[in-house]
Structure formats: C-alpha cells, structure tokens
Chain length 457, copies 2
C-alpha cells in the first residue's frame, strides 16, 4: 500500500467485469431448491416458464456454472453508469477520529438512485430477447421500479409496477420518475388483481408490503399474454447480476493492494448484500481468504436476527414458490413506520444458506440510530444516503469507533447502495424529531411463525 | 483521435486543475465595473467590505490576474465529488441518428445536484478564513442553497437561505435537504426583512424572484453582526470558481485529442455558462482557437436575446450595486409558470461583455420544447436532467439534428449542470400535458426597461 489511495477509485471501462459470478458454484451446501407449492417438489424450468423469462430461469436453477458471460448489450448499458466509484471515506475517518480505513462502494450515481439498475437491465434484456411485450413487478422504496422503468424504456418494453402503498404515498415523486420513463404505476394492494381485492377485503387499512405487491405483480404477469414477472431481489438470478458490485470492488481493491478486514452491507431481500459480498465469500469458500461479513437489517423487519430458517412463501398472497430462507413469515407486515425499503419478510436463499453456514453475521439496528448515521455521513462525505444504505453506514461507523477504542487499523468496506433524494419525508421526520422506532414483539413474531407452511423434504 | 473514446472520461485526481482561470485577464474590453448606486462611482474594496467577504472582493475586482491558485482546503473538498465526468453521448447520438459527436460535462453527481458546489465551497472557505459567524444567500431552484448548506456544514458556518417562494412551494423536499445540512430556509419575499415587507405590501400575491430574494439576503447580511452575503451566480468571483468546469473539460478533451466545434451551456445568471465557456473563450481571446459558443436561455426570461445592455440593479429591491449587463430590468418578474431556475432578470457582466463583443451567440427556447428534450435525453442517457440543464440539451439536440441533415460530423460539447430529482412537479406537468409556455410581450419588456436606472459613465 505504498501508493497513495485516491478519494475515489474509478476503474477504467476496460476493467469493468465482463462476467457475473455465481457463488452457488463454490458453495458446498447449495441453497435449498425452490418448491412448487402445488406439488411439494423442487421447481423445474417448466414450472417457472409461465412466470419468469426463460434465460433467467436457467440462471435461477444453475448451481454449477461459476461465471456467466455478461451479454454485450448489457455490458454496453453498464457503461452508461458504471464503473461505480469505490470511495475512500477520508472525511468520515477524520470526523470519527478513527484509525480504521473506511471504503464504500457507491452505487447511487444513476437516476434509479441505487444498484437496482444492475439487475433491471439484465432482466429487461432477457425479456426482450424472448420477444415479450412487457414485464410486471413490484417496488417498495421505488428504486427497483425506477430502475426497471429505465431498463424497459431502453429496450422498448411495457413496464407495469405495483408500488407498496405506504411508499407510493411517502414518495409521490418516485411515481413521476417512473412515468417519465414510460411505466404504469399502481399502489398496492389494489383492486386490479384478485389477490389485491382479497387482501383489501381482509385488511382494508393496510399500507401494503413487498409481499402483497409481489403477489399482485405475479398475478398480473400470468394473466396477461406476452408478459412475465421480474423481481429486484431475493432470487438467485438477481444476486448473480448484482455481483458486478462485488467484482468491481475486488478489482478496485486489488488495484491498490488493499486487503479488507470487514465487508458490510444492508439486507432487505439481499440484492445489494449478495451482490457485494458473494465474490468475497467465494474467496472464503475456496479457502483463499477470510473476511468478517456483516449483514445489517432494520430492527423493525429482522429476518436474519429473529427469523426462522424455514420454507416459506415469497409473497403474502401465497401464490409464489416456496423458498427456504430466514423469514418472519409471509403474513408478517412490517410497521409502516419504517422508512424506506428493507421491508421484505424473507431473505435470499443463497444468503440464508451462507448465514446458516457461518459465513456472515447479522445485526439489527433501529431507524433513529440509522438516520443519525445518515446525517453524520451526509455532512462530511457530501452524499445524502438512502435510508436502506444508511443501515450499513450505521454499523460501519460503529465498527470504526470500536477501532478508535482499540487502536486497530481495520479496513472496512461497506456498500452505499443509493441516494436519499426521494426519502425526504423520512428525513423531515428525523429532522423534526418525530421519527420513532418500531420493533415487533415476540408474540407478533410467534403468531406469524405459526402460519409458516408445513413442508417436509 | 485514434484511441477509442470511452463512454465517460474521468480525469485522475492529480489531473484536477489546481488554479481557477480569470478570463478578464485576457479580455481586451474588460467588463464594465460595478457602480455604487449612492456615489455613481465604481465600487471599491471598501464599498464591498460590509456586504461580501474580503478575499472574494479582491477576486471580484481583479481584471489582471490570469490564474488564481485554488487553496488546498478547497482542492481537498473538490476531491469529494470531482473530477466530474465528460460523457460521450453515444446513446443519444444513436437515437438521433446523427453523425455529430456529442459530449456533456456532467456536474450533477453530488447532493446539491449541480455545479453550484464549486463556488459554494470557495465562498464558505473565504468566509471561514475571515472569521465570520455565517453567511446569507438567496436560492431559486434550490441548487445553490443546497450547495451552500453543504459547504457551510463542512466549515461549521451558519447558513441563512432566502428561497424564491414559487420554488419553495414547487420543491418542498429541497428545504429538507438544506435542513439536513443545518441551514435555515425562509420563503421570499418574507416579513423578516424591510425590503421583503415592502415588496409584499406592493405585490401581496407575488411568487417571488431571484431579484427579491437577493435583496432580502443582502439586507439580512448587512444588518447581522459577523455575517456576509454570498451569491451563486452573476458575480465575477463565481465565474472564476466555476472555471473548474471548463478547465476539467479542456483537460479531458486534450487527453483524447478531441477538438470541439461548439460549446453550449444554459444561461441564467451565468455561473454554469461562464464556468464552462470561459477557458475556451480564453483560447479565442488569445487567438489560439475558434469555437461556436451558444448560450441557451428560457423564452420566459430572455435577457441575452431580448434584454438591454445597460447598467441595472442586480436585485429587485434596488439595494445592490449596479452592474452593466444584458437585463430585462430589475423590476421584471418572470412568470411563475416557468419551471426551475434561470429566472434572473440580468446576466453576468463578464458574459454580457463577451456576448456584446461577439464571442458568443444566444438562443431562447420554450419550456415544453425543453422538457421534450429532457425526456428524450433521460430515456437514452439514463440521467434525469434538471430543467435548467435541459435548455442546453434542447439546443445540443437541435444542432445534432442539423448535422444529420447536412452530414457534418461536428463535435458538440454541452454542460449538463445538474439532475432533476427535485423538479418532479415540473416533470409531472409535462407528463400530464398541463405545462404551458410563457413569453413576455414587447409591452411588458418596454415597461420594465422604462424603469432602468439612469447612469452615465
């Protein structure tokens, strides 16, 4: 590390990875297969075909191929907004007075405001390749919906977005960005689907959840000719596409001979976390390196730290496949009180397996502490972070402060997944000191766990 | 141009310019001096001292020093968000089917969302160096106010922002970003100043203007101990700081042996335009090169194309110095109908002189045409542009389409000053087809010109 580390490490366009990394190929314990809730058997390509795009299904079920070539058209699109910088947080280090060296991979420099575009463009590409008319999806905080709108606009595909109602209301301008890119946006639950009608009949005042919105989007896809459903998180294919984050991070670190001790990411469904950490965990799986990997989740939706590792539906409507994952139960409704994304009841099956096998630890943090970290970060590093990303900032700051106490010069890398420009309602609550924390009680979780499906394999 | 041009040209941090360029040093006809409205004589450092910061006043009045060393602390801050990329608009070129080669210098990758931070950090630095408690300012679209909030937060200075009322209402979230960075924001005109009270008494329903807000901010500064006024545009010092844009652009172009034919920028008060084009016009002034330089302004506030080149007040309240500039009259109120910034009645005296001397041409464009260009650009280049920046996009597209007709392979460089994430009310109007254009009538302008101050020099 003789060379001076710049504030921002940018790769050249030639250094952008041309392959995605499939961590499953290196996992001794593969993630448990998705189960067809009708037959109780592992899902096949035929089962998936009516719901998802063909090529994506192959990626979904492939536990063996270590690297997937990124199609040229996607590589080209990546150059529109990638490489993303790996930033040395000199200003934050100084403000904290820590001997730790802090880096963050910043994925927010594009109009979707987050890393979601990495998978959106891949999924839109394969949909177009299959000759589809359009795709349906759900969005929570709105980042995935925006990313998909941008990707569909690029490939001239129709894009129908079901947006979790509380986000739709909290983030009025998100809808307008999606419209500018030509998408249709419906607040969920809605009366446009059978499952939406059913949920509204049972819970008329619900503010929605990702689980509900997924059910609606899936129903809309399977009942419309020439449409498929696409998803921005949880799935193996999404983690695959998102490894561009971790691979770029590795390349940037290697360029300056930096060896991280700790990799930190926020965890909702796992798209950012999996994308960032998979290539590093791959090194651990192959016995080449050892890292402390930390998943950070909201205390209001704590699937890793308080969930069960069990088969569960990916959606509230219980029409999606069953996945073995850390889950709070598909009927768990996170408090509307919680700002931003990370509201999904479950977790990526790949990350669930890796966590179960001890390759990661997890921490749950409360949102007022998260916004304190967000504000501190914004004021010294200049970037107004998304609430989701700020979960990772919180723990990165905590770890850097521990280093201050112990004097350890640890190298911390965290994922800064996006910007908070559409989260100003939440920032306003924090600035006005009206923000509160909500943590589910043990009774609430027990009630939710009691509704887990019974699956024996 | 044998080397392949990447999608984004990033300079290394060592290549970021360490000096600002003062175009006045190369101008044969210097911009006319600012006039003290009390004495009718050119302003001296003593006149300026109660209003502006000391070192900034020296920069303001210096017509001779060709380059100013950028203080180390500012250079360090620049590395937080600079260098900004010079982007080759391959996607836009393809969509237009033009043989033209289009580049844009993108200044929006920071939380202020624009180039304004380049001067904000410089002005905050000199205020801190002088030992001041805080600064006051006005903001139109909110980008300058956000930038100044960020800069003041970095140097722990108090920041009081008067925000043009129609922007305050159109952009509720801007205020929250400024608050997150610790600023106080007041809609202007307000009852907190004498000039605000006077304007409200005369025009109770006014939606404000930059001119009003400037008057209020200046009054607040001169009546508060330890405060000075800072301004995000128009002034010579601001253009000086903003030359970092043009200098970086030149360095990036030279790196790949690219010779532009045309430089295009949007024009409000002149901060972006001046910053981008000064170094290029410098080459013209020194007889080293020839470029077509185009200023693009809104048809609703057309100071270059329909204004008078005359001495005028910089503010509506007529308490600021007089500047010789292209002006619509300090009493001209641009329609509230117009989205975003570029609402200033006057123009930078430096740019006014250069325009008067034939180094630039100017075009006025209507906002519906501007938003058409913005949407087209967003869909292919991925970035949702600010309405201000989209004025430059409009003319860049028009020029690229002319090349398509003539077959000319011109190289076009334009300034993409910022992002439109806080302009979604305007995008919504455009998407809903409720946006209209407003162009002042000749009678309105004549009435405004009649109120120009009588100054003989």
């Amino acid at each position: 590390m003789s060379e001076k580390i710049p504030y921002k490490i940018y790769l050249t366009e030639d250094e952008i990875p041309t392959k995605w990394y499939n961590v499953r190929a290196d996992m001794k314990n593969k993630p448990a297969p998705l189960i067809n809730p009708g037959t109780g058997k592992p899902l096949t390509l035929e089962d998936l075909a009516p719901i998802f795009c063909e090529d994506l299904n192959k990626q979904e079920l492939d536990n063996d191929t270590q690297y997937f070539e990124i199609p040229e058209e996607i590589q080209k699109f990546y150059k529109m907004y990638r490489p993303s910088p790996l930033v040395r947080a000199y200003f934050l280090e100084k403000a904290l007075g820590t001997p730790a060296k802090i880096y963050y991979k910043f994925e927010g420099n594009n109009t979707s405001g987050s890393h979601k575009l990495n998978s959106a463009i891949a999924q839109a590409y394969y949909a177009k390749k299959q000759g589809l008319k359009g795709v349906t999806t759900e969005t929570g905080a709105g980042q995935w919906g925006t990313a998909l709108s941008m990707a569909c606009s690029y490939f001239d595909l129709d894009c129908r977005v079901y947006m979790v109602k509380c986000s739709y209301e909290q983030k009025p301008f998100r809808r307008e960005v999606m419209r500018t890119y030509g998408a249709n946006v419906t607040p969920s639950p809605s009366m446009t689907t059978e499952v939406g009608k059913k949920i509204l009949a049972e819970f008329p005042n619900t503010t929605g959840s990702l689980g509900c919105a997924i059910s609606e989007a899936v129903e809309a896809a399977v009942t419309s000719e020439g449409y498929r459903y696409v998803l921005g998180s949880v799935l193996n294919q999404v983690l695959l596409h998102q490894t561009i984050i971790g691979l770029e991070t590795q390349t940037a670190l290697k360029k300056y001979n930096i060896k991280p001790d700790m990799i930190i990411g926020c965890a909702g469904g796992g798209s950012n976390l999996g994308g960032l950490v998979s290539p590093f965990i791959g090194e651990m799986l192959r016995g080449e390196a050892k890292y402390q990997v930390i998943a950070v989740e909201p205390a209001s939706c704590p699937s890793f730290t308080r969930g069960k590792y069990a088969y569960d539906f990916c959606d509230t409507g219980m029409i999606c496949p069953l996945a073995k994952m850390y889950t709070l139960g598909s009927q768990f409704m996170p408090s509307a009180n919680h700002a931003g994304g990370l509201r999904f009841h479950g977790m990526s099956p790949i990350l669930s397996q890796l966590y179960h096998d001890g390759y990661m630890e997890a921490r749950a943090v409360e949102q007022t502490a998260v916004f304190e970290a967000a504000t501190q970060f914004a004021r010294v590093e200049g970037i107004l972070p998304a609430p989701e990303s700020s979960h990772a900032i919180r723990v990165a700051i905590d770890e850097a402060l521990k280093c201050k106490e112990t004097g350890e010069e640890k190298t911390i890398v965290f994922g800064l997944t996006g910007t908070g420009y559409f989260d100003l309602v939440a920032y306003e609550q924090f600035n006005s000191k009206t923000m509160t924390d909500t943590i589910p009680t043990d009774e609430q979780l027990a009630e939710s766990f009691a509704k887990l499906p019974k699956v024996n394999l």
